[in-house]
């Protein structure tokens, strides 16, 4: 659940920056740093597409992955790994962009830093989610081996609920 909330907030931040980049929003609310300088630099584009738009697409993908209901344990594990992979890659990309802000552009965009922080939180939440899924799998295997009475599943969640 926490991943879904974070991804939604991240998507809103990315949408705000994307609308600025395409000219719908003329001026960013930016009390700290220099958002305009960062968002108009060459690093604000990646393969001809605004970095903010890439971020928006990534956050929406994470939101869908976090909300998709799964019925099978194997699929649940695969989705948890996908969340870790997508958010892990995005954290590395955010770190690269932040290094450009600090050492090349010499300006900080508070919205970009907010997005990088959200993505880092999503990454850690995804790791926790993966650990939870693996714990639940182990508990299920133990449950299946029990012959007399099924073991109590403890805190393990059932497939079918949203991730995060």
């Amino acid at each position: 659940m926490i991943i879904a909330v974070l991804a939604l907030v991240g998507a809103l931040v990315a949408l705000y920056l994307t609308l600025f980049k395409v000219g719908v929003i003329r001026e960013l609310v930016c009390n700290v740093g220099s958002c305009e300088r960062v968002n108009t630099s060459r690093w604000a584009m990646f393969f001809g597409v605004p970095v903010a738009a890439w971020g928006l697409a990534t956050y929406l993908a994470l939101l869908v992955l976090a909300l998709v209901p799964v019925q099978r344990a194997a699929l649940e594990r695969a989705l948890a790994w996908l969340l870790v992979a997508v958010s892990g890659w995005s954290v590395l990309f955010s770190a690269w962009l932040t290094s450009k802000e600090l050492f090349v552009i010499h300006a900080i965009c508070i919205w970009c830093v907010t997005s990088a922080t959200i993505m880092t939180l999503i990454f850690f939440a995804s790791l926790l989610e993966l650990a939870r899924v693996r714990r639940a799998e182990r508990a299920e295997r133990f449950d299946a081996r029990a012959t007399v009475q099924p073991a109590a599943s403890g805190g393990a969640s059932m497939p079918g609920e949203p991730h995060g």
């Binding site: 949408l15 609308l19 003329r26 960013l28 010499h106 079918g160 609920e161």
Partner: protein, 255 residues
């Protein structure tokens, strides 16, 4: 009933209960989305409202030269206050200005005068103005102007942009020794300051800002809007009594 089917039935019950428990979460998520989108919409409207508006201005004689393009005696003068480091100025210079030159300046409808107005937000703006002014010494101001705006991302973040400017100067076939000496001497800084002062005197707050006739228009306006202002100013010039406030002489050139 087998042990396996009993377990499956229990799982289904738990799943249904959890789905029911998640309803407030989904509602909360939708509320967050709605509030976020509303804030962004408000911000979009607010940012438009906070833009400086078009102002009526009295005809004010120029005290700075700027850089002139076209016929100085054209019936209408377009003044542009711009910053070489400003992205909106680059947007105007690369998208709209070619049309303005071809269809308005070259046809004699209006003259075009560029004033350096470094805002202070972009660290290399004055260096770029200096590079362009030095190219102007060899009658290549407008060519350098175009290269600076087209290549803005290549030099705006550099700690020393001179190397990039040199590649432009070489590409334009400038006498590099003279351009280099001019750039290092910074002899055009007083003119750049004078251009900036002209903008301050006219209460320019953002770049690009245009003065056409009695209108001062902020923003990278589209061609059609600019042409409409030129037409209005031309009509006014036709009907007005002859104006004896001759424009200041600028460094003219052809792009």
């Amino acid at each position: 009933m087998s042990q396996k089917s009993a377990r499956a039935q229990r799982s289904n019950v738990v799943r249904t209960q959890r789905a029911a428990n998640l309803k407030p979460f989904y509602i909360g998520l939708v509320v967050v989305a709605i509030v976020g989108i509303a804030l962004i919409a408000w911000s979009a409207q607010h940012s438009d409202a906070s833009r400086p508006s078009i102002a009526n201005v009295a005809a004010t004689p120029l005290k700075a030269q700027g850089h002139l393009l076209g016929n100085p005696n054209a019936p209408v003068q377009i003044l542009e206050f711009a910053d070489f480091g400003c992205p909106h100025c680059a947007e105007f210079a690369t998208i709209t200005e070619p049309d303005v030159r071809k269809r308005i300046v070259e046809t004699g409808l209006a003259s075009y005068r560029y004033f350096d107005f470094p805002l202070g937000n972009f660290p290399n703006s004055v260096h770029a103005s200096n590079a362009a002014a030095c190219a102007g010494d060899q009658n290549k101001f407008w060519e350098m102007h175009d290269k600076l705006f087209e290549g803005q991302p290549d030099w705006s973040d550099e700690s020393n942009p001179k190397g990039v400017f040199e590649t432009y100067a070489k590409a334009l076939g400038l006498d590099m020794k003279a351009w280099d000496a001019c750039y290092d001497s910074q002899k055009h800084l007083p003119e750049i300051d004078a251009d900036h002062e002209e903008g301050v005197r006219r209460h320019v707050e953002s770049t690009p800002t245009f003065v056409i006739g009695t209108k001062q228009i902020p923003g990278a306006i589209p061609y059609d809007m600019l042409k409409a202002y030129v037409d209005t100013a031309a009509m006014a010039a036709k009907t007005a009594t002859p104006n004896n406030s001759a424009p200041a002489k600028g460094k003219s050139g052809t792009p």
